[in-house]
């Protein structure tokens, strides 16, 4: 990364932090379904994807470590909520299964497109990760799309539940694309084309899939912003306390 100047490093860190924190927090949230999923097969599939997300976050934290941040465990387990860059969508409690599925759908579609855009990034180590995660993420979106279609076209109850969880998650999902401080730096350096472009691509794909499923996108929604700048809902700190309980008792514990 010789071509990186200090500004580029700061911009790359900002991008990596929000991606890694999103993955860590949604991974942790989705893992809360382990053992409680609706049927055995779904329980296993959802838990396995949650593990994928935790694994992906670790790779991203390792890139941050290369750029001079503390190691992955320290970064993941010792920060307070105001040091996290995740969007509000990922930090909300799991709710009922329809809520978790709709969040999984909206988030993973954005994540898939983000990594697709990063495959040609000038930040070669990040581009390599984007290529490495491609298969995992493709399965995650297949799973999400199949479920959303299935339930939106199921019976009256499943359709109503999917619509109401879409209404609830939509403004939160728009918060994924809250712009950072370094949009133009990232774009000019060829690292990442930016949140705006990501949101446009996401809107096109998600709109088509939701229309095919027969669901209505809420109109005039205001994005739930703030997460990228360390402002969070009351749900994040209790999640962090629970996630870091063992680490806080014994930081050298192996498990």
């Amino acid at each position: 990364m010789d071509f990186f100047n200090d500004k580029h490093v700061e911009a790359a860190k900002d991008l990596l932090y929000k991606m890694a924190d999103d993955q860590l927090i949604i991974g942790h949230r989705n893992s809360e379904w382990t053992g409680l999923g609706p049927i055995l097969e779904e329980d296993i599939a959802f838990s396995s994807m949650a593990q994928d997300k935790l694994g992906q976050s670790e790779h991203l934290y390792n890139l941050l470590h290369e750029l001079g941040e503390a190691d992955a465990d320290t970064v993941a387990f010792t920060r307070n909520e105001n040091q996290f860059h995740c969007c509000h969508l990922v930090e909300l409690p799991i709710g009922e299964y329809d809520f978790s599925l709709m969040r999984h759908f909206l988030f993973d579609m954005a994540e898939a497109i983000r990594f697709e855009m990063l495959i040609d990034s000038s930040y070669e180590n990040l581009a390599r990760l984007a290529r490495k995660f491609k298969g995992e993420i493709k399965y995650h979106t297949m799973h999400a799309n199949t479920w959303v279609k299935q339930l939106a076209q199921g019976n009256e109850e499943s359709k109503a539940r999917m619509q109401s969880s879409l209404n609830e998650t939509w403004p939160l999902a728009l918060g994924i694309f809250e712009e950072g401080k370094y949009e133009s730096v990232l774009k000019d350096a060829g690292i990442f084309a930016g949140e705006k472009e990501l949101q446009e691509k996401w809107l096109t794909e998600v709109t088509a899939l939701l229309a095919a499923a027969g669901l209505q996108i809420p109109e005039n929604a205001t994005p739930t912003n703030g997460g990228r700048y360390g402002q969070h809902t009351e749900h994040l700190q209790p999640l962090l306390d629970e996630m870091t309980e063992v680490y806080s008792i014994d930081p050298t514990a192996d498990w």
Binding site: E32, L36, I39, L40, E41, E42, I44, A45, S48, P93, Y139, M142, H143, T146, W147, Q150, E242
Partner: protein
Amino acid sequence: MIKSLDPRIDRAQLDHDPIKPLEQLDQFQTFEVFHQTKRGQQHVHVGIVHAPNADMALLYAKEQYARRGETANIWVVDSQHISATEYFDQDIFETTPEKFHRDPASYKVMDRIKAYKERVKG
């Protein structure tokens, strides 16, 4: 409410007696899963998954049977579409031992094969 050391269980606010008889829609139908390790090889039956339709069955088959190790392809088949023999008729597979005429060893060809190999070598 059930009290647990697992905070997720407390949050779920489960009744004291969560084990109730299954209702009709609590269990999906089954699909038979066939797994292929490499392209060109046979698909091998590896087990079943419960799913509401074939698309979902493929999703689950991937997680149940292809999470570890190499996989090229997966088939799922609705279990109801499998035709099977009856165990009652298992005796159709029994063969009488004295059928040397059907045994490859009965064919006296080894002498001729040996002779051919020597001729080719020579």
